[in-house]
Structures are given as structure tokens and as C-alpha cells.
């Protein structure tokens, strides 16, 4: 049996007295696309924060390719090949699009803290940044400061930075939030394209996105994983219906 | 025992004095996030205004008039200068207060001259309040402590009984939204800055004659009041209060401690002679560094508890 790309073992997190994550266990195989859904405040973003090192778990384990990463700093986790995007756009506002992306690739290409080489001479990094820029379709905005991009473009850049380091496991937190229908559609295609061959976890509320993107769905309710299964099975699951779906809004989205 | 009691009394009263000096800064810094480098200048203005008003109408009216004048100046500065740079971020805000401190200093020198002025403690409060072990406790010092406590209560009421604190905190991140909820944000900012300036002015009225009213007086309190505010914790009034008392007491007791590293080393069997490397450091007595202990305290607190003693936020 192969080692799962990402595995959670009885993960728990409390803030003060309230326990927000109450024992999540989950194993994601390499190359799978998982959608994480659940009611507001269920703990989806918190889960992502625990995995990516923003918070340290109260107890439990997180394993990346079999290696424990819980309690590590975000940058250590990132170096091990896990990258994430943010629910609220989190980019480098005063750097250009190109620079944003280049910042994302530098570490993975081994440039670390060097100040003895010129950026301009780092052909591999520049090429990779150009390539990413092309992938997220921002070539024409190459030298625009990120702060001057439109919302959708910023979201795209957010994804671009996330995948820049070439991490094999990618976490996306509501990547399409705030986008219109048409943009969302385009965006799903984009995400699909750039994450080929990678392990992907996405939080989403838009069922259209969820069903369009996911191989499997994990349903988080009140800090626990209520279900983890194929989309069709989850949709049919009675408890999930009660807790989360079960409305014409979801149906309308999913059937769109 | 005698020394301990007197030192404790001195420590607490010095702590309260620090609080008095820094309360206005706490108010402005914690609410508006502005590192007001002109705070000490407002303090100085308070002293000078009080000096002039005292000559005209006496000390007691000056106690109200001078802070009021400072408040008006502070509010005007907020309205015409500070507000414009708010959107550029904290560094420009800080620099503009820097510029203001230069201007105030020069103005003070122009109006009142470069020397100290003869601003005295009112006769009513001149002299000792009581004697303890033969050492007098001056009445004016007690008055200062009293005013410091009043300031604490006033700010506390302002923060808890009104929503000004909430409005400002909210407005720091989303001024437009707060305004759309029906709050006159610019006016609140102006009032708070004016209020902070008034507190500085009041401290000046009282500190000016307790110490020396001269153009250099701003510079001498300049950085220690930042220490109080930061050690206490940004955004925390009680923190500033605790920090003032703590710094006051620690510093006062440190003055009484004449031991040095050399003493510690020799009791540990090491022999330190003037030839030893870093002899100057070895022979330094704790009492000699007492007045700069607050800065060490500051550095240590920030490293181990960047939020400050009772603070809730880091930035």
C-alpha cells in the first residue's frame, strides 16, 4: 500500500475552551482532488490552518507523505511540498505580478537567502515565473503592481503563488469566492489545468465548483468529518443533506 | 524597613507620575495607533501655558485653562495635518508629529525664551503632607498621585462607558464602514487626539512646577513614556498603569541596590581585577543603571511578550 499524500490522525484544536476541531481523521491519496464542504464555522479553514502550520494542533497528527508535519512552522511545511491559498486574498500588494510569482518559485529552486546572485540571472526562476504567469493568464499584466489588479485577477495570482513552488499537495480555501458565474467557470478550468497530477484539497460553498472539481468530498460539520466519499454518495447521504445541502440553492448550483 | 517603606512610597508615586505623563500617549497610541512623538511637546506646552495663565489668574484656573488650550491645538493639528496623512500609514503619521515637535520647541523658545521660567508650586500645596521616619512626603507629590488616579478613572470611563474606543478601533481598519453605520468618525478622531493632548497638557501643568519648565523638558521625558505605553501593551490602559507602577517601583528599588557583577563573581570565587577583560562592566553597580532599566525592561518584554504585559495585540 502506498503512503497517503496527506493524512490526518485524530486532529484536534481548541481556542481557549472551545474545541473547534474535534478529532478529524482523513487520508488523501496522491493525485486525488478533494473538496471540503461544511456549514459556516464548521472548521474548514481552521483545518487548513492546522495542516499548513498557521496554527499548531492541540493534539493529533498531520502526516505529509508519511512524515509528521504538525507543529512545524509554515515555511518548513512549505519546503516539504505543501502549499496553500487563502480565503481572503493574501498576495504581495506592492510587487508586480511577475515579482509575486518569482517570490513563489525562489525557494523551491534552491535560491534560499542568497544575495550573491542577481535575480535577472536566475534563468530557471524567471522562466518558471513567466510560465506560471502564462498559466494563470496574466501575461499582459506582467509589470502591474498586484494591488492594481481586479479582484478576479488577484484571486488568480493567489493561486499562481500557491502553485509556484511546485508543491505536490495544494490547499485552496474558497478559491472562487466573490466571482461571478462566468468567472467561476473559467476559474475552475484554470485550477484543473494547473493542478494536474497534484493532490488538491479545496474548500468551497458553491456546489457547482464542488461537483465540477472533486474526485471525493469530505464533509466537515462541527469540527468532525461527517462523510468522506465519492460526490454522488455524499450527495445522497442523508446526514449531509440535513446538515448542509438539502436546499434548492445547493441543487440549483450543482445542476447548473 | 524604613528604607523599604520610603522606597515603596517613592516607587509608587514615581510610577503614578509616569502614568500621568504617559496617559495621553496611551490614549492616542492605543486608540489611533499613532506613535505621537509630539506628546512630550504637548506636555511642555501645558507647562508653559500654565506658567503664563498662573501669572494672570493663578494656579487653579490654569489647571483647567492650560489643558484646554493644548487640547484645542491638538485637535486643530489632527484636523488640518494628521488626518491628511492617516491614509499614508503609520510612518508618515509618526514623522509629521516629529515635525510638529520641532515647531513647538521653536515656538516655545520664541515666546518664552530659551531659559527656564519661574513656575512655582502653588503655596497651598507647597510643603510636606506628612512625615514618615523623618522624611517628608511633599503635598504636591500627593496631588500629582491624585491627579494621575483621576486621569486613570477618566480614561477608563471614556473607554468603557462610551463607545468612542470601539468606534476608533473599528475605524482604524474600516473607517468608511464605521461612518456608514452612522458614526462621525473624523470628529471622534479629533476629539480623541485633542483629549490625548489635553492629558499631556494637564501633566505639563502639574509636572512643570514639580520639575523644571524649560525648553528641554520635552526631550527629557521623550522616550521613557513610550516605554511605559509599549511595556504595558498597546491598546491596554490597565497595562500602561501596571507598567508605570512596575517601572516606578523597580527603578526605585534598583537605586538602592549597590551590588555588581563583580560582587557576584567574587562570591563565586572568581577574582575580578582592573585587568580583567570588560572590568568596567563587571564593576557596574545595579544602582548605576537604574534609570536605564526601563529600556532593558522594554527590550525583554517585547522579546518574550511582544503584546506587552496586558496587551491584546502586537501591532
Amino acid at each position: 500500500m502506498t503512503v497517503p499524500a496527506l493524512e490526518l490522525k485524530d486532529l484536534r484544536k481548541s481556542f481557549g475552551k472551545t474545541e473547534i476541531i474535534r478529532g478529524c481523521s482523513l487520508a488523501v491519496k496522491a493525485g486525488e482532488r478533494i473538496a471540503v464542504i461544511g456549514p459556516n464555522g464548521a472548521g474548514k479553514s481552521t483545518l487548513f490552518n492546522l495542516i499548513s502550520g498557521r496554527f499548531a494542533p492541540t493534539s493529533g497528527e498531520v502526516l505529509l507523505n508519511g512524515q509528521r508535519i504538525d507543529g512545524k512552522k509554515p515555511f518548513e511545511i512549505n519546503r516539504l511540498g505543501l502549499s496553500r491559498s487563502f480565503q481572503i486574498t493574501n498576495i504581495f500588494p506592492k510587487l508586480s505580478v511577475f515579482e509575486n510569482l518569482r517570490c513563489g518559485v525562489l525557494w523551491s529552486l534552491g535560491y534560499r537567502y542568497t544575495f550573491l546572485k542577481f535575480l535577472a540571472d536566475l534563468d530557471d526562476a524567471n522562466e518558471r515565473a513567466e510560465q506560471l504567469m502564462h498559466m494563470i493568464k496574466l501575461d499582459r499584466k506582467r509589470d502591474i503592481l498586484a494591488i492594481n489588479l481586479t479582484y478576479a485577477e488577484q484571486r488568480a495570482l493567489e493561486i499562481g503563488i500557491t502553485i509556484a513552488g511546485g508543491a505536490q499537495v495544494i490547499l485552496l480555501d474558497e478559491p472562487t469566492a466573490g466571482m461571478s458565474k462566468s468567472e467561476t467557470k473559467r476559474f475552475i478550468e484554470l485550477i484543473k489545468e494547473v493542478t494536474i497530477g497534484k493532490t488538491l484539497l479545496t474548500v468551497e460553498h458553491d456546489m457547482g465548483v464542488v461537483f465540477g472539481l472533486a474526485d471525493k468530498i469530505a464533509v466537515v460539520v462541527y469540527g468532525e468529518i461527517l462523510a468522506y466519499d465519492q460526490p454522488e454518495a455524499v450527495r445522497a447521504n442523508q446526514r449531509v443533506q440535513e446538515a448542509y445541502l438539502g436546499s434548492h440553492v445547493a441543487d440549483a448550483q450543482a445542476n447548473h | 524597613m524604613e528604607f523599604f517603606t520610603i522606597s515603596l512610597l517613592n516607587g509608587i508615586s514615581y510610577g503614578l507620575l509616569l502614568f500621568m505623563l504617559s496617559s495621553g500617549l496611551t490614549l492616542i497610541f492605543s486608540m489611533m495607533g499613532v506613535l505621537n512623538f509630539a506628546h512630550a511637546s504637548f506636555y511642555m506646552l501645558g507647562a508653559y501655558f500654565a506658567y503664563s495663565t498662573t501669572q494672570l489668574v493663578g494656579f487653579w484656573p490654569a489647571l483647567f485653562v492650560a489643558p484646554l488650550l493644548v487640547a484645542v491645538l491638538g485637535a486643530a493639528f489632527e484636523k488640518y495635518c494628521l488626518r491628511r496623512v492617516h491614509k499614508f500609514g503609520h510612518v508618515p503619521e509618526l514623522l509629521i508629529t516629529f515635525g510638529l515637535s520641532f515647531i513647538i520647541l521653536e515656538m516655545v523658545q520664541l515666546i518664552w525664551g530659551t531659559s527656564s521660567v519661574d513656575y512655582r508650586v502653588p503655596a497651598l500645596l507647597d510643603g510636606p503632607l506628612f512625615k514618615i521616619y523623618g522624611t517628608a512626603f511633599p503635598a504636591y507629590r500627593a496631588f500629582m498621585m491624585f491627579v494621575a488616579i483621576l486621569m486613570l478613572i477618566a480614561i477608563w470611563l471614556l473607554l468603557t462607558r462610551t463607545r468612542i474606543g470601539l468606534v476608533i478601533q473599528a475605524a482604524l481598519t474600516h473607517p468608511d464602514t464605521v461612518e456608514a453605520l452612522g458614526h462621525n468618525v473624523p470628529r471622534v478622531f479629533m476629539l480623541v487626539f485633542g483629549g490625548g493632548a489635553a492629558l499631556a497638557g494637564l501633566a505639563g501643568v502639574i509636572g512643570g512646577n514639580a520639575f523644571v519648565t524649560e525648553p528641554g523638558m520635552a526631550a527629557t521625558v521623550g522616550s521613557v513614556i513610550f516605554v511605559v505605553v509599549v511595556v504595558g501593551g498597546m491598546g491596554s490602559l490597565s497595562g500602561a498603569f501596571v507598567a508605570s507602577l512596575l517601572i516606578g517601583v523597580i527603578q526605585t528599588f534598583a537605586v538602592g541596590i549597590d551590588s555588581s557583577l563583580m560582587g557576584a563573581a567574587s562570591s563565586a570565587g572568581l577574582d575580578i581585577t582592573p585587568q580583567t577583560f570588560g572590568y568596567a562592566l563587571w564593576k557596574l553597580k545595579i544602582s548605576q543603571i537604574a534609570p536605564i532599566l526601563p529600556y532593558m525592561f522594554l527590550v525583554l518584554v517585547l522579546i518574550f511578550r511582544p503584546k506587552g504585559l496586558l496587551g491584546t495585540r502586537e501591532g
Partner: protein
């Protein structure tokens, strides 16, 4: 109640709204639809006096253009901004307190009403609002505005980031508002909910209103939908 005429709005030099005209009646839910960047949020901000604009905005017979945002708020217009502009450093309860225009204000709504509406908020009432989940923040902004007891409430994309069930809930609550005589100007992206609850729909495109009518007529108008809404 609200009558907007010939509204032009500017961000610095860029002209964003080009003569917007519409009105909102008492107890009416009006949906303002349109693509990203069509100018819906700008319309809301213009009514609230938060952008430079010209034209007339008539509220209960009074011209409010040129008034300050807080004055407009005091006249009874509530605004729920997009992007979840909650105040991150203060608690949930304090956020709600700021919704009231003064500490003494007694409105149609109490804290308990809000907590009843969204029990999740009650649970979190003493936490810093900044750590709330995205959805919880969204609920909070809505409640905060309601605490100000407005007669007209302008809501900018309230269902963004809410779970489908909650979206439906919000729809129900908007209808309840309407029952209490409050008018709603609902700016939405998600047609499903907007069409379900609104009395009238407006479609905006390139800074002006390109369609006005009932939801049903909009549903029927394939051209408008294709050209000005989704694909």
C-alpha cells in the same frame, strides 16, 4: 422612498456610473444584478455618500446627495458592505454595538433577535470578530447593520461564502425584514436567491441600468440574461 436619478459617480477621474435611475418603494425588495465590475457596489456607495457623485438621490423627500455617510445613516439607510468589513479587533458583541447609532438607541431589533437569527453568533459573541469564519463574518455584517434600525437596507452580496443552507436562511430573513416594513436593495451575484425573494429586479451594465422588471420578466428575457448577466 428612495429615488435615484441621473446618478454619475467618479473614482478620481474615472467615471464609473453613467446616469443611474431607479427607485425603491416602501417594504419592497429590489434586486440589483449585474456582472463583476458593472457598478453595483458603486451605486450603493454613491447612495451612502461614500464616492464623488452628481445627480439626485431622494430619500423620503429629501435630497441626500452631498451629505456625509453618517448623516445619511442617521436618516435611516443601512448599508452592508461587501468584502465582510467586520471590525476584526473587537468582539462580535461590540461589533453589533457599533451598529447602533448611539448607546441609547432602541430600535426594532435587539441583540437577542440577532442571536436568535444566527445562533452561531451567540456562541461566538465574546470572541474577536477577526477570527470568525468567513461565513460567520458575513452574518455579523448583516446583523450589525440591522442594529442601526434602518428603514432601507442596502446589502452588497450578502450570501458570498455562505453555505447553501444559510443562503436560504438569509433569503427568509430578508423576507421577514420586508414584512416589518423595511425596504431592501439587494445587490447579488447569485440569481437563484435574488430571483426567489425580490419584488423587482434591476440589471446593471457598464454603469447604467439596462433592465427593470419583475423577476419573472427577467427570467423570460434571455437576451438581457445572456448579454448582461451570466454566460
Amino acid at each position: 422612498m428612495l429615488k435615484v436619478q441621473n446618478l454619475h459617480a467618479f473614482y478620481g477621474k474615472s467615471h464609473v456610473l453613467h446616469g443611474v435611475e431607479f427607485d425603491v418603494g416602501e417594504g419592497e425588495i429590489v434586486a440589483l444584478l449585474g456582472r463583476n465590475g458593472s457598478g453595483r457596489s458603486t451605486t450603493a456607495k454613491a447612495i451612502m455618500g461614500m464616492v464623488d457623485c452628481t445627480g439626485t438621490v431622494d430619500w423620503k423627500g429629501r435630497q441626500t446627495l452631498g451629505c456625509k455617510p453618517y448623516e445619511i445613516a442617521h436618516l435611516g439607510i443601512g448599508y452592508v458592505p461587501e468584502n465582510r468589513d467586520i471590525f476584526p479587533k473587537i468582539t462580535v458583541h461590540q461589533n453589533l454595538m457599533l451598529g447602533q447609532k448611539s448607546a441609547k438607541q432602541k430600535g426594532r431589533w435587539t441583540f437577542d433577535d440577532m442571536y436568535e437569527m444566527f445562533p452561531r453568533l451567540k456562541e461566538r459573541q465574546h470572541t474577536e470578530a477577526g477570527v470568525l469564519s468567513g461565513g460567520e463574518q458575513q452574518m455579523l455584517t448583516l446583523c450589525r447593520t440591522l442594529m442601526g434600525d434602518p428603514d432601507l437596507i442596502i446589502i452588497d452580496e450578502p450570501t458570498e461564502g455562505l453555505a447553501p443552507k444559510i443562503v436560504e436562511l438569509v433569503g427568509q430573513y430578508l423576507q421577514k425584514l420586508k414584512e416589518r416594513g423595511i425596504s431592501v436593495l439587494l445587490i447579488e451575484q447569485k440569481l437563484t436567491i435574488a430571483m426567489a425573494i425580490s419584488d423587482r429586479a434591476l440589471v446593471m451594465g457598464h454603469g447604467s441600468i439596462v433592465f427593470q422588471g419583475t423577476p419573472d420578466s427577467l427570467r423570460a428575457d434571455a437576451y438581457i440574461r445572456k448579454e448582461w448577466l451570466e454566460v
